[in-house]
Point group: C2
Chain length 558, copies 2
């Protein structure tokens, strides 16, 4: 154990430091170039993925399966992956986890952290395999599949490990307490333990199967809780590989593999609710839709600690800028990236009726809308860029949602279309559409329209834009906000209103940085300040609530 | 503002350091001696208290009252204090708080912390007045009234201020983030704000009107939330004085007094539920009974952040010791202190049927029970000590509970009696009673019997004692546990089991230190790890959940 702990202590210390500096830090390079990862890395990753097709996934070490199940389809090929995973009944998973609790919680936080970093190093060797697995489950394009599911996810996991380690070591393990009583002194030996809560459940989503799963997974693990990973049935493979890597390291250290289990649905038995309601399950991380998320949150009344990332309505506030073309290019990329299937994708574009001030001159509302539509259209029809930015649609329901919008009678500034993908002719695609609404039509823009749907909302002025964006965030949740203004007073008004609505704001982004992107070790992802969710990657609360401080004291032997 | 901030920065830094050292630290001396507080301090405090009797409490600066109300009685005199307090409708209190939110949240954490420490310095000048007010509302004896409501409460408040200040300043306010992109660098200016949640409510209890109120009150205030203090109608005066001191300092700094308001019940209108359910109330701290506490916790489903300290069933595990007489003396004091009306008072005494090993020899179960009864009886009938330890009974229902126990048919090893109080012949008193039960009678010992009721429970062996103590803590809550063992293996078993049940354990206490006592800056009070409550004075979670981190970013001007 000590060897592994020593091996990774520097990484751990560096990560803790990065958490507090919040300047740029990445432990895992995001560039999938051969220079970084080796000449054959991509080909080998692709081959490893191909070899898994139509096979049982046999890497897990968590005991004899009760059945085999698999329901994944490739959004690029629109046909089944044919991979099956071992199925275990919820009671088996929970019993296994309870049995594994003792040895795991009795390790020191530094030892647990090191084992988990060792597992992330294992994950790193499989980033390319995970990338192809992510493409063919989520529909993300190759670059995003690599970055989001590989290095970015691993950095978010490392961030959670670092935060959890720091919180558990922030108070002394032991101390001597000497209280002067005048003529004598009362002396007590005191000690404290960070006591993990118990069995943890992490419920994954279909669009970001590792990125949204590993923070809660590694946060629960580093704080000593055994974890059951319940992936979305349509996106199992990427996280199954990560679980296999964790199990490999656990077993190599003489620990039960069942400290970290994969628990998949059977084709005829969905196990999430059974797991979530099991009285021994004390911690739940959830990413997904609001309705099920609200159910998960309701379990808090049973004493469970719950972290959610649900949906939100993200706003763009357009007030003033120096170069409108650069602004719409940036926004067009943000809405097109993975066809709007990101929790951080902008949806509502608030534009004042008198227009947007560009380098001192008002550009009329209509022209702003046209420019935005033009930029989106330009990107979606650019054969070199489009497939690599827009990717494919994960869920047919998203395509249906886009189609339904067309029938609602809103003025349509840009119709949705398909995206040419020369490599995958059967890819399920859909380019963004843009509708125009009025500020009074709140019922039409106050819900998340997950997918490539943009709404231009004409407001009286920027104050109304801010008021609406903040109100939507407070009442319906928001995970991102983009604002464009050259006016310092307006900027402060946006900061003040959006901060009260618990929403991070990106100002005046142009060029190669987008509102959708959140950097580990710098940007808190989801603040917990509005209905979009109460999990934040990674603020101290995200790890603290996973354990309890318990103290012991005894008189010093006289 | 800067003057006040500078004035208290050293105290603040020292307090933050103490939080992490967890060695002995007290900013407010607990000894009410003339040497410390001045020759006339007690007489002046008593006179100030006397002068308030039968008068309206006119010190608050929170606007014209809508009515006047007061319902306090002295447990020592069994007659009304006759003090009335300004009444405001819940909607008035909430509106005032919302209006005061802006100026308060816009201060820097260091400035808020300094203002609050200045208010604690004001509270310090009134410790003796608060002591007499506490005696005549709670029934605590003089020494406890002074220490618990004065210096100990002020230290807990300072602890919350320090923890809140530290958490809000733990991440940089601004930083520059430079991401190398190969041929160029993306540079963003980033900034973060700790955004307070909103209007906070603190619901006090009748037995510890300041000690249990100030942690939540000062924690919410230091993190920028305006606070409404809703005291128990039977114990208003001690905390009203504290609120008046806070308001005085706020006004002196040009801030609205309504940042911290007192909200009392009218004689015919209880306002707690109305306040708690008001949608603008975002934070609630509650101390009191379990039933109402569970209702308060249920409000979490409305997105409110809730901190509770409810009731628990505290255990004593008797296994082995060196000197049984010293052990029973210590325990007798613990159960007698304020007649068992403490959330940390022991109730269930688990004793193995084969007895307790004392210096290597087994003392039979019966003899242990007799010794315990004898020690309690000796203290209760000691005219010099008894009134100063046992104090008076706050609530007639507690006396009734003791009387009812006598009719339940349990074997009675010690009957309750009265406590002679030469100074207050009308004092409502009750000395502890001791009943014997068997380990199988769980339904009789698995609820809190608030007040001076002790249960001796005969178990098969210490393992059963531990199992039962841990089970009760897990299922019904516990705030303290005392254990006596000279066996290292048993000690580790107790630590492991009780830590999983989220219960702090005091081992082998004898002499002048008691299981009931929890020291600020060292002992976490209530861990949050069992149903007794989710508030912990003061772990980071206790302050973190009162605000949200929100980030802003913008490209560095090129």
């Amino acid at each position: 154990m000590t060897d592994t702990t020593q091996k990774h202590q520097a990484t751990l210390d560096q990560a803790v430091q990065a958490l507090h500096g919040r300047t740029f830090f990445a432990h895992y390079p995001e560039n999938p170039s051969p220079d970084v990862y080796g000449a054959d890395a991509d080909a080998q990753g692709r081959a490893a993925y191909d070899a898994r097709r139509n096979q049982p996934f046999a890497e897990l070490q968590q005991g004899a399966p009760e059945a085999w199940a698999g329901q994944e389809d490739s959004p690029y090929e629109q046909q089944p992956l044919g991979i099956t995973y071992p199925f275990y009944a919820p009671e088996t998973l929970v019993r296994n986890a309870q049995e594994a609790f003792g040895p795991w919680r009795k390790l020191k936080p530094a030892d647990r952290a090191a084992i988990l970093i060792e597992a992330l190093e294992g994950m790193k060797t499989r980033f390319f395999e995970i990338a192809h697995a992510t493409m063919h489950t989520t529909g993300q394009a190759y670059m995003m599949s690599f970055q989001a599911s590989g290095p970015h996810a691993a950095d978010r996991a490392l961030e959670a490990v670092a935060a959890g380690y720091e919180e558990q070591t922030r108070f002394p393990e032991t101390t001597q307490w000497d209280k002067p009583m005048g003529k004598y002194t009362i002396s007590l030996n005191k000690s404290w333990r960070a006591v993990p809560k118990g069995v943890a459940l992490v419920i994954g989503c279909a669009t970001f199967p590792t990125w949204n799963t590993v923070p809660g997974m590694f946060a629960s693990l580093v704080t000593g809780n055994p974890v059951i990973i319940k992936p979305h049935p349509k996106a199992v493979l990427p996280i199954a590989i990560v679980v296999a890597e964790v199990q490999k390291v656990l077993v190599a250290h003489g620990l039960p593999a069942t400290i970290c289990q994969l628990g998949v649905d059977a084709n005829d038995r969905l196990i999430t609710k059974e797991l979530a309601e099991n009285p021994s399950v004390k911690l739940i991380d959830y990413t997904g839709g609001t309705e099920f998320g609200n159910y998960i949150e309701s379990l808090q009344s049973q004493g469970k600690v719950v972290f959610t990332e649900k949906t939100g309505v993200n706003s763009v506030i357009l007030d003033s800028c120096d170069d409108l073309d650069k602004v719409v290019q940036n926004l067009a990329f943000s809405v097109s990236l993975y066809s709007g299937q990101m929790c951080t994708a902008p949806q509502n574009f608030f534009i004042p009726e008198q227009g947007v001030k560009v380098a001192g001159t008002l550009v009329p509302y209509e022209e702003v809308v046209q420019k935005l539509a033009g930029a989106v259209q330009g990107l979606a029809t650019n054969p070199k860029a489009a497939p690599h930015v827009l990717g494919a649609i994960q869920n047919p329901a998203t395509q249906q949602r886009v189609a339904d919008m067309a029938g609602r009678g809103h003025r349509n500034a840009l119709a949705h279309g398909t995206v040419d993908n020369p490599q995958y002719q059967n890819a399920r695609t859909c380019s963004p559409s843009l509708y125009e609404l009025d500020a009074t039509q709140k019922e039409h823009f106050s819900q998340e329209l997950f997918g490539p749907i943009m709404l231009a909302i004409k407001t009286k002025d920027t104050h109304e834009s801010i008021r609406l964006a903040a109100e939507l965030a407070r009442e319906h949740g928001a995970i991102s906000c983009a604002a464009y203004t050259t006016d310092e007073q307006i900027k402060e008004e946006i900061k003040d209103e959006m901060s009260l609505a618990g929403t991070a704001v990106s100002f005046n982004l142009t060029g190669g940085i987008y509102v959708n992107q959140n950097a580990a070790f710098s940007d808190f992802h989801v603040t917990g300040g509005n209905p979009a969710g109460n999990a934040s990657f990674t603020n101290p609360e995200f790890v603290l609530k996973r354990f309890t401080w318990v103290g012991f004291r005894e008189p010093v032997a006289g």
